[in-house]
Symmetry: C2
Subunit: 690 residues, 2 copies
């Protein structure tokens, strides 16, 4: 039965990729608009391509180095340590290294497809929206679906193939580690890129020379629009890809730990959930449409809830027919419901319909400092629904599973994470929609389209922001449950190698580990944000230099040198990743090899605790400041140009790296740290100083 399911997995994955390709060509067939619009879109496309080329070059280097290390380390038979000479079997090392490389390649491929269609869809969506709001929406959403479906398809096909070939979930872990390493670099690098360009473009363009946003005279305008794609499309996709795979792999490991035929059945179950999720997303995507006078935001939310419902029914049917214990259904539902609830409650803190955003807007006329303090404080409070939600989901799914007497409680937690993430096909589609319509608006402005078109594009854009807030809450919570499952998987792998793991908080070594781990997410956030400001300063110098050297640029008679800004942003972002990448991959190994597996367990725990807190707080505070600025721009408290508006712009600028650079990278950081620890757990179990 297991093999049949794996074949179904491969086929379903390929179907998903196939539909993604079909949608890709559908999008490409749409009208690409006037020559001017195509020229503008062309600049963005080139910029994105040049960034991706650099990113993938850097990644190839990292992947080769890590791949070689993995191949060598996993060729030794660690069970022989202290018993006799270690056997060296290159095949087993190559298996894991191969899985690692395939994971990285699949993740890169999904990101590449997503980016490629996004930079074609932006101009087409702008042209389509001129015709009809719904048409513009459809182009952007289907383009988003290309990445959503490519991503889940490649993930499921990849995991199924590797498990079919090796029959060893620890090798699938290598696949997950590959995907996550890529995700970390793509997400953090993209986050630094996008905010570098955004801040530099704003500070010189809007503040110094007083030209509007997205003005083609600004040398950084192309870099800014490229940034939306590399940060929000490719980065976000890689981020969810990584949680998606990690949750499935963690649950597979926890299933395998149950042992016997039962274990075999439940090892495969997470993959089956992913398969059902693919079909639920494929169906759900068909039902996302904006009726006459309909609101795009509602359409996206309806799509998410509808997909959840279909998926729930499918899982129930599977459990009843397939002979699985009913507790896994409850765990799945717990995850799903929690994900949706967290998404909607988080909206309270970031939507302009509620107190936090309104109050932050209101206090802004007393100056930027009060805007910052208020938004910062509400950002801290915004962690409550998600943390409480994750805690409740964890306890329910654990106890339901334990009470079944069939599966382990911790497996139930893993399944609730998979339940949240199984519908990622749909989630990513609505999330990728956001930056595409944001770009569409930019192109409409830069290509000098009618004012009416820009207004319609604005409607699409604001829907993107709402969807983004919800999917962010969703993905951070899912990541929290995923790393909890990975954390349990770490313990299982360590103990499977004959070492008793003691991660009691009464042990000073564990507490030391927790403190060091707790320190990592704040440090990572600080380093990425400082990179943004440093790189932005370099770009500001370049923009000023261009304005000085060629006065024709500001007059609009000379096209600025967009490429130099694009290169600066790309180089800056990638070179800023060295220390953060070390923190993610090197520090856990260092802690493990020096302080031992118990301390490493504590370290992972600590990183998870502060990681979740900081990720939620930074993402939500950023969204809150952004929306309170937008609220003031609707004419409240003096509107654009007022003191309140100036203060809210400061809030928004502070929030930019919070919500687009540091906050969302933290998920990936803690996933990578958990994965590298679990992967190397067998090695750490035998080699450590303390």
């Amino acid at each position: 039965m297991v093999q049949n399911w794996l074949v179904v997995g491969i086929v379903s994955g390929l179907i998903s990729v196939g539909v993604a390709l079909y949608l890709y060509f559908w999008v490409m067939k749409q009208d690409a608009g006037s020559e001017k619009a195509q020229e503008v879109a062309g600049w963005i496309r080139e910029g994105a391509a040049s960034y991706l080329k650099r990113l993938y070059t850097a990644l190839t280097l990292v992947a080769v180095i890590l791949g070689v290390i993995i191949a060598v380390v996993f060729s030794f038979d660690l069970n022989q340590v202290g018993i006799g000479p270690m056997e060296f079997t290159l095949a087993s090392g190559l298996e894991t290294a191969g899985a690692f490389i395939v994971g990285a390649v699949c993740s890169a491929l999904a990101g590449y497809m997503g980016m490629t269609v996004a930079v074609q869809a932006n101009v087409r969506s702008a042209v389509a929206v001129a015709e009809h709001l719904n048409k513009g929406f459809k182009v952007a959403f289907f383009a988003g679906a290309v990445m959503g479906l490519a991503m889940v398809g490649l993930a499921v096909a990849g995991m199924s193939t590797i498990y079919l070939v090796t029959n060893n979930p620890e090798v699938v872990l290598g696949f997950s580690f590959g995907a996550s390493t890529l995700a970390l670099l793509a997400k953090a690098g993209g986050g630094i890129y996008t905010k570098t360009a955004d801040i530099a473009a704003d500070l010189v363009g809007k503040v110094e020379v007083g030209i509007p946003e997205d003005d083609p005279r600004n040398p950084a305008v192309v870099a800014d629009n490229v940034g939306d794609n590399v940060g929000d499309v490719a980065g976000m996709g890689a981020d969810i890809f990584d949680s998606y795979v990690a949750s499935a792999v963690a649950s597979m490991l926890l299933g395998a730990a149950m042992g016997g035929p039962l274990g075999e059945m439940y090892t495969i179950f997470p993959l089956i959930l992913c398969i059902l999720g693919i079909y639920a997303s494929l169906i759900g995507i068909q039902f996302v449409r904006v009726g006459k006078n309909g609101k795009p935001g509602k359409a996206l939310n309806f799509g998410t809830v509808f997909t959840c419902s279909i998926f729930g029914v499918m899982v129930l049917a599977l459990v009843l027919v397939g002979g699985f214990d009913i507790s896994v259904f409850w765990s799945t539902v717990t995850g799903l419901v929690t994900g949706v609830l967290i998404g909607f409650t988080t909206e309270y803190f970031t939507s302009e319909d509620f107190k936090p955003v309104l109050e932050t807007a209101k206090v802004s006329d007393s100056g930027a400092a009060i805007t910052i303090i208020t938004g910062f404080s509400y950002g801290l409070l915004s962690i409550i629904p998600s943390v409480v939600g994750v805690v409740i989901a964890m306890l329910i799914s654990y106890h339901v599973a334990e009470a079944s007497g069939v599966i382990t409680g911790i497996y139930g937690i893993g399944i609730s994470a998979v339940g949240m993430l199984a519908i990622s096909g749909m989630i990513v589609s609505s999330d990728a929609y956001g930056p595409i319509v944001d770009n569409a608006r930019g192109i409409a402005e830069m290509a000098g389209m009618d004012h009416e078109v820009i207004e319609k594009a604005d409607v699409l854009d604001s829907a993107g922001n709402t969807a983004k807030a919800i999917t962010k809450g969703f993905s951070i919570s899912a990541a929290a449950l995923t790393v909890l499952a990975l954390f349990a998987a770490y313990a299982e792998v360590i103990e499977a190698h004959g070492i008793t793991l003691n991660i009691s908080l009464r042990s000073p070594l564990v507490v030391a580990g927790v403190f060091l781990g707790a320190m990592t997410p704040p440090i990572f956030s600080a380093l990425t944000m400082l990179s943004v400001t440093h790189n932005a300063f370099d770009m500001i110098e370049e923009i000023r230099r261009q304005f000085r050297a060629e006065p024709g640029i500001l007059k609009g008679t000379v096209v600025p040198d967009y490429k130099t800004c694009v290169s600066l942003a790309a180089e800056g972002a990638l070179s800023s990743l060295v220390i953060p990448a070390f923190l993610a991959v090197g520090l856990p190994l260092l802690v493990g090899f020096v302080l031992g597996p118990d301390a490493l367990g504590g370290f992972l725990g600590g990183a998870i605790f502060t990681g979740v807190v900081f990720a939620l707080f930074m993402s939500n505070a950023g969204g809150l400041w952004d929306n309170s600025k937008k609220f003031i721009e609707t004419g409240k408290y003096g509107g654009v140009g007022s003191e309140a508006h100036k203060a809210s712009v400061v809030g928004d600028t502070v929030g930019d790296p919070f919500k687009d650079t540091a906050g969302p990278s933290l998920n990936t950081l803690i996933t990578v740290m958990s994965l590298v620890s679990t992967l190397f757990a067998p090695v750490i179990a035998v080699f450590h100083i303390f």
Copy 2:
């Protein structure tokens, strides 16, 4: 021998209080200056007295309610639960309740003495500095020493007396809980008060009507100066009082847990350390003086290092002569050295001699947003030396103690915390110096003293800021070690009542506890900071109202109504404490009674981890912004009035509630949570739902 030491403790405590009283009268004998200066000082004194009256009224209410609960709960013999009818012995309940009340009263008394002398010393220091820099320094420092010595004296006398009477360290825990409850309200209340007044005074005074800082025409100017006293003097004193007592009590409990005559000897050892610390501080204080052309900052730092050295020698002598194991000496030294090192390394992030402050100042001419992002990021990085320092101190003192074969490792950690805090007499003296000279400067300005005097007062003031940074690093690190010891004490007390405590991170209940605990410090920070902005808005309305109603105020012909602003600040601060106080006392009990002792263990752990991170980050970021503003005010990057200066003012204003309201209250929060849990551990051990 134990009883002898306790008598020595009582006598030494009284000596310390005696010297404090002597210094108090010495300060009072100094010249109080012109009638104008005395009038100004009188306003501040009255304002401080009216705040203290309200604070102590509120505290009496809280103390009575908690006292009654403690008296009733601890009258039941919990060892009988499930065995037979519980005996009700009112005497044993009254013992703990009495200790609780005495703890609160001692802490209040120390704060009262400190405040009383501070509001007399400020004007006297201003008068003295006119004569000679060294004389002004001496008045302010000796006034600070009044609180330092009163505090340690009352603490040691109180603990010794209670232990002498009851011979039960769990009753001394009641004393500590009383002191900490008061500290929490004094610290958080004072922090809200001071920043409410500061922000309101600045926003209307400096920004709206354009009058300088400390201008007597500003109706909030007195409230602002009162705030320095209630926040920085009384609040900070209560804060260190609470860590000081808690570290000693935690170590006493851990000593008692060793059992037998050995346990008895080591139960008393933390008290002996405190006694030696008193004498070391008494000696050290004599050596703090500013030579001709000497720098006050250097004098304070010299005093700290000198006191540490004397104390180290004393402890070595005690250990060699008194037959204690040498490992306790090493633990003590580890704590001391770590405290000093953390203090000095933290200075890297907050002093204007190093990159973080300089860079934050430099980027300020690109606008407030960049100032905030940069300062925020360096604030996050600033946690590294302290966290690594605490981890190393913890591991060293644990392993040294374990290796001794005599005492337990965890007792070693407790002793290193006591080692850090034993010289609190000196630490508090130099810390309380800061707000006194800050006030002196304010009075000099308000009373229209010579420009030269104001300049000299500025020199004294800047030394206060440096001392403050070091003592803050010191006190947060000490609090971290203290709560780790308390955390261990919690486990000991639970197990002493026959319940096995499992706080492994592999248990979902524990992880749930950790998540909930980790959420508490950020929420507490958010609530106190939102209180500051809300209350500041009320006060801003009042200031505007006064300016409107009486135009003579701005002309300087009519004295504004200072009292209303003082009352507003006091009422606002105290009414804002209800939810934060519930978080500190109610939430741990709720978690314990609902989720059980294991989850409560996790909860405390989580609160400690994020509490330490947020406390360090917020305090340091605040100091960094403050100093980068001061650096610009020396004329760099355009100096006062430039764009860079405006941005740095935003940074400074954001940093104000970070460093003076939220950050330093977190120590006390986690101490109170640990104490209430440990105190009620026997009850929770027998009554809990899960």
